[in-house]
């Protein structure tokens, strides 16, 4: 294993690493303080958007680890979220289960599905693998739909707000802090995972499977592990989504949702965990931005249908512009900005 660490792990001279770490730490602490204080000046609408971003962030982190780090493309993300939401919804409806049962059960359900649908990855790659994960999506949606119909829940399954330690989470502020803690926890967990042996093995098999195999990485095991862990997280975010929105319905988990998650990791910047979060922010905000733009631009005699379809088209256009002009994603832009700010100070440091 040690070969991998020296051979493939990203090595930085120890001194600069320590220094950068401290800079980073300052930035992180600042960000956390900002996020904790943000609700004091936010409207409920802001809080709702923030909560949506946090849920999307958890899902995007999972997909980033699977696709951006371990190199396994998946179009089944929306299906996995549906699996988590339905596990929660069914357990709640049929057995009245509380959050301490539903959430772990959703994670387990996601992990099991991830294991099953990870198996083709041992044979398939790239686009072909992506297509086989599509089957996962259609299967989960089909089963969920059958359950909804059989249980007579023609308008979906309703969920009451979760109760944690006798405290009901319904209020926008409560959700904000709960989800903030969860997304931070997920981020921290993923980061530790990437810095571990597992993370390095994933990077190795992403870079070159054959070489990784030769270096002693058990490719099959690590691939499946990637599917199991990330599917568990995705399923978890689906369960959170169900609790947050107070309902479960197959119609909330479209193929378009999977595409939006892929858009998040691409726009955020492939292979970067902060990128996944930035991507989640961006993709969640775009529709609101377009809506605002359409309202701000004066238009005469346009009916509402026109405005809405224009906004839909604009979403596509924005994505295209990003892909064409900023292929390295938001992380790339961020690094460039930091580089611009940092360069003068560097000049002072070095004679």
């Amino acid at each position: 294993m040690s070969n991998i660490e020296t051979g493939i792990g990203k090595m930085t001279p120890a001194t600069t690493r320590r220094k950068r770490l401290s800079q980073n730490q300052v930035a992180w602490i600042g960000l956390i303080v900002l996020l904790v204080l943000l609700p004091t000046s936010a409207t409920p609408f802001h809080l709702d958007i923030a909560s949506q971003i946090f849920i999307a962030g958890i899902g995007a982190l999972a997909l980033m680890v699977l696709t951006g780090i371990a190199g396994q493309i998946s179009l089944g993300h929306s299906g996995l979220m549906a699996a988590g939401a339905f596990t929660t919804g069914i357990l709640y409806k049929e057995a009245g289960a509380g959050i301490w049962i539903t959430l772990p059960a959703s994670v387990v359900a996601g992990a099991v599905i991830g294991l099953i649908f990870g198996l083709p990855s041992l044979r398939l790659r790239g686009i072909y693998l992506a297509m086989s994960t599509l089957a996962l999506h259609f299967l989960v949606i089909y089963l969920g739909g059958e359950y909804e119909f059989a249980s007579g829940a023609s308008t979906g399954i309703f969920l009451d707000p979760p109760v944690v330690f006798g405290f009901e989470i319904y209020d926008g502020y409560a959700w904000y802090y709960v989800l903030l803690a969860l997304v931070a926890g997920t981020y921290w967990g993923c980061r530790n995972l990437l810095n571990s042996k597992t993370g390095r093995a994933w990077e190795a098999l992403h870079a070159n499977e054959t070489a990784a195999e030769a270096l002693g990485v058990q490719v099959a095991n690590y691939k499946l592990l990637a599917f199991v862990i990330t599917s568990g997280i995705a399923s978890f975010s689906g369960a959170l989504f169900a609790y947050y929105q107070n309902f479960v319905s197959v119609e909330a988990f479209t193929l378009f949702l999977s595409i939006q998650y892929i858009a998040m990791i691409i726009i955020g910047g492939m292979g970067s965990l902060p990128g996944a979060l930035l991507g989640a922010v961006f993709v969640t905000l775009v529709p609101y931005f377009v809506e605002w733009l359409m309202e701000a631009v004066p238009y005469i005699g346009l009916d509402i249908t026109t405005v809405s379809s224009a906004s839909y088209a604009a979403f596509g256009l924005l994505m295209i512009l990003f892909l064409v002009f900023e292929p390295s994603g938001l992380t790339g832009i961020w690094k460039r900005l930091v580089g611009q700010f940092a360069s003068p100070s560097k000049r002072e440091d070095t004679p």
Binding site: G156, F247, A252, L285, I304, S309, S311
Partner: protein, 389 residues
């Protein structure tokens, strides 16, 4: 730089969009969540326009008893998550006194869930009527839409029994969404109860592009006539698929917004629609008002397609007429839970809601068809009243 500007505008957008909408004292704020884009827009965008148009004209005429309506319209694309977001926005940011849904059944769960929490009445106007509005009705949920899966099925089977021989075999076609499946399975149950035979219920998954094979199955099962209740695009493509295979039986479909125009093009005398709305080929004062309003608005929408939203506007007007000084959500709900609204000749009778029934006490159905002799649309059977239990 471009990106920085973009980021700035994003922040700006959040602040601008979030400014609280302050309602004037004499203004009732109504939130509308509608499928204005996305795959269901073909069905729901037009009724949403109709609602907007009616209330716009109402405001221009000075409102009702000095009260005007302020509409906050958000697109939900027929998508549940967006509808949930819209509902939260209505309640926390826009402080609406009423929510109107003109969208797919997928959006009902979040809307109902949020509105019940916030104790704001919901009017389904253009959306299919959810079971929650029918007896025993849940509080806060009302429906004025002209179609409902189960009641349309009852009326369709009843009419079919008038026309077909008593030993006919009937086929059914539904779309793979719960509400359409439930309607057609109810219809099959009624047909079997009447000692007629069933050729089976064909359920096409949403997004089916080719209905040929579904039609083949019903034809091979010996269907003499076919019932269909689904979004118009699905119903009519199914009928197309039957006809393409030379099937000549009677087809009965729900009367939805697009029906009149499409039937005039299809000129199929064996195609019947059952529904609660009038068709506009009959010149009455009510239909004239509607057609002129659409013309004058400069919109290129077909007047037929906005009718259910227009009726929703009439309902809002009726509620405002009864509303006193107090315009809170609670007061509006109190008015809605016991009211009779004149549908001004656009339906067979009034919409009457009671504590237990937020759908209709009596529902009136009419059948339409294309007549080859007149070379025009005709009424195949005039209004027939059905009690809602």
């Amino acid at each position: 730089m471009k990106i920085i500007q973009f980021a700035k505008s994003l922040v700006l957008s959040a602040t601008v969009a979030a400014g609280p909408a302050l309602a004037a004292d004499d203004e009732v704020v109504i939130g509308v969540s509608a499928a204005l884009s996305g795959s269901a827009a073909g069905t729901y965008a037009a009724p949403a326009e109709g609602l907007k148009l009616y209330l716009h004209l109402l405001n221009e005429a000075g409102g009702v008893n000095g009260k005007t309506v302020s509409l906050v319209i958000y697109d939900d694309q027929g998508d549940a998550s967006r509808a949930a977001s819209n509902a939260k926005r209505f309640l926390t940011q826009d402080d609406v006194q009423m929510i109107i849904s003109v969208s797919t059944s997928a959006t009902f769960a979040p809307i109902i869930s949020q509105a019940t929490r916030g104790k704001v009445p919901v009017l389904f106007a253009g959306s299919v009527c959810p079971a929650e509005t029918m007896p025993p009705a849940k509080p806060l949920l009302y429906c004025s839409t002209g179609f409902s899966a189960v009641h349309d099925s009852i009326a369709m089977v009843d009419y079919l029994r008038d026309r077909e021989s008593s030993d006919a075999t009937v086929g059914f076609s539904a779309m793979g969404i719960p509400i359409s499946r439930a309607g057609m399975e109810e219809a099959e149950r009624l047909v079997l109860k009447a000692d007629m035979k069933s050729a089976g219920v064909e359920i096409a998954p949403p997004g089916t592009a080719d209905y040929t094979s579904f039609a083949t199955k019903l034809i091979q099962n010996g269907a003499d006539s076919v019932l269909s209740w689904a979004p118009w695009a699905v119903q009519i493509r199914f009928v197309d698929a039957l006809r393409k295979q030379g099937w000549k039986g009677n087809a009965y479909v729900g009367h939805l917004a697009e029906a009149e125009l499409e039937m005039m093009k299809m000129k199929d005398p064996n195609l019947f629609t059952l529904g609660t709305n009038v068709m506009l080929f009959e010149d009455s004062e009510a239909t004239q008002t509607l057609v002129n309003a659409v013309k004058e608005s400069g919109s290129n929408l077909h007047p037929e397609s906005i009718l259910d939203g227009w009726v929703g506007g009439i309902v809002v007007e009726g509620v405002l007429e009864q509303l006193g000084e107090d315009t809170s959500a609670e007061a509006i709900n109190a008015v809605m839970s016991n009211i009779e609204i004149d549908t001004k000749g656009l339906r067979g009778g009034p919409i009457k809601w009671t504590d237990d029934n937020h759908f209709r006490e009596t529902i009136y159905y009419r059948a339409y068809r294309w007549s080859d002799e007149k070379s025009a649309m005709e009424i195949a059977r005039d209004w027939k009243a059905y009690e809602v239990e």
